[in-house]
């Protein structure tokens, strides 16, 4: 009952908060030191004359005050119109429907696998803190935390796609083919592995630290003294106080996921959202940028509300004042 109430209150707060976030996004973006024309024209910028630049500024309304741009966007939104993306030369809704499924598939799968692998390995490592497995896991995690995702991606391509020729190097389907489930999945494997590998380290280290802390708590020491060991100890005494709080953090780590996905999508030519987000920010493509930031904000709000609600529902001791 408490959990439902909490969700209701969070939802009520989310609406004005989202509106405020969208306004803040327009305001912050308007402070950007980048000239949107420079981003928009790319290398053609150096060939544009003053009158051409003026004509483009007027035609694309780059000098519009942020609050007017925001109000226009809100007005369109009220009619279900997300606006026109100037960087993609397409309606924002089309950009989203074409690309969002690819990003959700890739990022969702990578986050799930990363969480599963990291929690299992983190628990084992944390339970045997200081042992061989712990040292190996920690060492590997620290190394991969330091290796940028594009290095992992290129190494995978070099070995699996170019060397062994097991998997395609880039794209979402074979060139010239239509999207098919089998084709997309086959092309998704390498980017999925690369993104998973880039997300595992921080999750693993966080889990391990939490597990180690809980094994040193009085409760766990008491349980050990009573002869509770191994799986039963982990499940009954350690995991509830260490793993659940770690998983609750997942929703708030969205920025890391997006940053990793942007690089992985670029290297693999994956037709997702992440690279477009970066491009829209540089070129002040307000409608697309707004749709993406507000969408991301909503995802974080929903994620944290759900995980809090889950905590309230599972653990009767938890009291969260919405």
């Amino acid at each position: 009952m408490d959990a439902v109430r909490l969700l209701g209150i969070r939802a009520a707060v989310a609406i004005p908060l989202t509106v405020a976030i969208s306004a803040a996004m327009f305001w912050v973006a308007s402070l950007s030191p980048f000239d949107p024309l420079a981003a928009y024209l790319g290398s053609n910028y150096q060939f544009a004359t003053e009158s051409q630049r003026a004509a483009m500024r007027a035609a694309y309304e780059t000098d519009m005050p942020w609050w007017r741009a925001w109000w226009q966007w809100m007005g369109g939104l009220a009619h279900g119109d997300l606006g026109w993306s100037s960087t993609q030369s397409q309606p924002v809704a089309t950009v989203l429907t074409e690309r969002m499924p690819f990003t959700l598939l890739l990022s969702g799968a990578a986050l799930l696998t990363a969480a599963a692998v990291a929690v299992v390995a983190g628990c084992i490592a944390g339970m045997r803190s200081g042992g061989v497995i712990d040292r190996v896991c920690t060492g590997v995690a620290v190394v991969f935390a330091a290796v940028p995702p594009f290095v992992v991606s290129l190494a995978l391509v070099l070995v699996v796609a170019v060397g062994l020729r097991w998997l395609p190097a880039s794209g979402a389907v074979a060139p010239g083919a239509d999207y098919t489930v089998a084709g997309v999945l086959r092309h998704a494997i390498l980017p999925w592995v690369a993104l998973t590998v880039s997300q595992i380290p921080w999750l693993l280290l966080t889990t391990r630290t939490a597990v180690v802390a809980s094994t040193q708590s009085d409760a766990v020491r008491g349980a050990r003294a009573r002869g509770v060991h191994g799986w039963a100890l982990l499940r009954g005494h350690v995991a509830p106080v260490s793993v659940l709080p770690t998983l609750a953090l997942l929703g708030t780590r969205l920025p890391e996921l997006i940053a990793g996905a942007a690089i992985v999508e670029t290297v693999f030519g994956w037709p997702g959202m992440a690279a477009v987000l970066v491009e829209s920010a540089a070129a002040l493509d307000f409608p697309l940028l707004a749709a993406l930031t507000v969408g991301a904000a909503l995802a974080v709000l929903a994620g944290s509300a759900l995980s809090d609600a889950a905590a309230v529902a599972i653990d009767p001791r938890v009291r969260i004042a919405a």
Binding site: Q46, F47, T113, L154, V157, L167, I189, V193
Partner: protein, 521 residues
């Protein structure tokens, strides 16, 4: 933590490991580093008339990349006919249909050229057709074109023609043809997705239908990923930076460098006492070893540039206006001009020091490499140059006191547009990057004006040779290199078309594939 993931991947893949080379033999797959879409000729797509989707009134035709291409009639049925002072009549080819089935007439040509000049359309290439004053219909089957110069009109008539009903009133980047192009070219766009574009040959093309029936462009922005797609066999061709091109060379894959009029050079600021001294600018031109730059920075994919006029311009090119590397002569020039080495080996004169910043667009690694190499080459002369990567909008504000590493040659098929704005003192309403220092040499402006107003011929060539000689005696820039664009392609047994001299733009629309429709088995 990598091993469980890889093990999982291996399990998933087992059984579905067939290579994807089972496509039909009249298809070709090109891996493109540029975003797909944006197929609007009014906004700069196929500005120089090279496109699978569109035809211009004229189009470049080449049998080699070592000379300027011929400009042959395409949608115009014959060469321009004189029809008054600076005015030409162009009969249109009959029986030409667009890919949506509608027929070409003079209204389409007029609408396309009007749109490029319309401020509300905000075309990126409005200045490329600036010499054209008016395009008017002369009945449904001909147009008349009026220019502000007696020069050959054809270099300004290469733009792809749109059906008039596809021309819109709003900004060009928002037009429907960006993603759903309608042209008269040998191919039409079959499908466009973020990751790939597919073009198919038109059976109702007015010329000979193409033998390559399907062209697939896959979007792969990362240079390394494109090289690997090439090696892995998923792509039949791609463009690569010179540094990476050798990595794809192996059995069945060939590499090629295609000449371009795409120059890189240093524009110098007027507000710096050192670069404002003509003798200092001359000394820098003589004291840089351009051959070494081509050899070491471009790994051979390029040629030296002393002026924006490349050897491909034939008789208009002055072989005597080229700088010969001579460090001693450069030192003597600087000494004679009063620039003497100070305590820290940096030259100075009357309190001013021979030092300035050299700005380049930070996203462009080649400009970075050239900037650093140029700065290193100036060090032994006692000139301290500090290269720094930044954004275009910052460079915009620094013309007065900083040098800029520039590129040029976006419309090379006319020597006038290649040279005039770059060497002339600031032309009203030209790009701020055209001669930002506003330097000139005695008589240079007048020579440039006479040369660009002259019709093609030996007199014009002679004027351009004098332009180069006058410039070389008192240079405004330090032009360094012309780039060769590097491409890798798989030998699929086609008789490929010869390469063509390329403009600034490149990618898989150029290289061996600029005229795919002419490939034969």
């Amino acid at each position: 933590m990598k091993s469980p993931a890889i093990a999982l991947a291996v399990v998933l893949v087992a059984g579905c490991a067939a290579p994807s080379g089972d496509a039909d033999s009249d298809q070709i797959v090109l891996s493109d580093g540029y975003v797909l879409g944006g197929y609007n000729p009014v906004n700069g797509y196929a500005e120089t008339g090279v496109s699978p989707i569109y035809d211009g009134l004229y189009r470049p035709v080449a049998t080699t990349d070592t000379a300027l291409p011929d400009l042959a009639p395409a949608l115009a049925s014959e060469p321009p006919q004189p029809a008054g002072p600076n005015t030409w009549r162009l009969p249109l080819r009959s029986g030409v249909t667009f890919s949506d089935g509608s027929a070409l007439d003079s209204a389409d040509v007029v609408a396309t050229y009007q749109a490029v000049r319309d401020p509300a359309v905000a075309s990126e290439i409005a200045t490329s057709v600036a010499p054209i004053l008016r395009v008017r219909a002369d009945g449904p089957d001909a147009v008349t074109v009026e220019l502000n110069t007696a020069a050959d009109p054809r270099p300004y008539l290469l733009l792809g023609i749109l059906p008039s009903e596809k021309v819109e009133a709003g900004p060009a980047a928002d037009w429907a043809v960006n993603t759903a192009p309608v042209g008269t070219g040998p191919y039409r766009l079959e499908s466009l997705r973020p990751d790939q574009a597919v073009m198919v040959a038109r059976e109702d093309y007015w010329g000979e239908p193409a033998q390559i029936k399907r062209v697939v462009y896959t979007y792969t922005p990362d240079d390394n990923a494109r090289a690997q797609a090439m090696v892995a066999g998923t792509a039949d061709g791609t463009s690569l930076p010179p540094r990476l091109i050798d990595s794809v060379e192996r059995d069945g894959i060939r590499t090629v460098g295609v000449e371009s009029a795409d120059w890189r050079g240093v524009a110098l600021p007027a507000g710096d006492p050192f670069t404002a001294d003509p003798q200092a600018r001359l000394a820098m031109n003589i004291g840089v070893d351009r051959e070494a730059l081509v050899r070491d920075v471009l790994v051979g994919y390029g040629r030296v540039a002393s002026t924006p006029v490349a050897a491909v311009y034939g008789d208009a090119y002055d072989p005597d206006a080229q700088y010969r590397y001579d460090l001693e002569r450069a030192r003597t020039l600087l000494d004679a001009a009063g620039w003497r080495a100070g305590a820290d080996q940096i030259r100075e004169k009357g309190g001013a020091r021979a030092t300035f910043e050299l700005l380049y667009n930070a996203q462009d690694t080649l400009r970075r490499d050239i900037s650093v190499a140029f700065a290193a080459a100036m060090k032994p002369l006692g000139i301290d140059i500090r290269p720094r990567g930044t954004s275009w909008d910052e460079i915009d504000t620094r013309f007065a006191d900083a040098a800029v590493l520039l590129g040029g040659g976006s419309t090379p098929y006319s020597i006038d547009s290649q040279v005039h704005d770059t060497l002339h003192t600031r032309v009203p309403d030209s790009s701020p990057y055209s001669n930002p220092g506003n330097f000139t040499a005695p008589g240079l402006d007048e020579l440039l004006e006479r040369a660009s107003a002259s019709p093609s011929g030996t007199a014009k060539d002679e004027l351009y040779r004098r332009v180069q000689a006058v410039y070389a005696a008192e240079p405004s820039h330090v032009f360094l290199v012309f780039l060769d664009h590097a491409y890798g392609y798989r030998d699929l047994g086609w008789q490929q078309s010869a390469p063509i001299l390329e403009p600034h733009a490149h990618g898989v629309g150029w290289g061996p594939w600029w005229n795919l429709a002419a490939w034969k088995r």
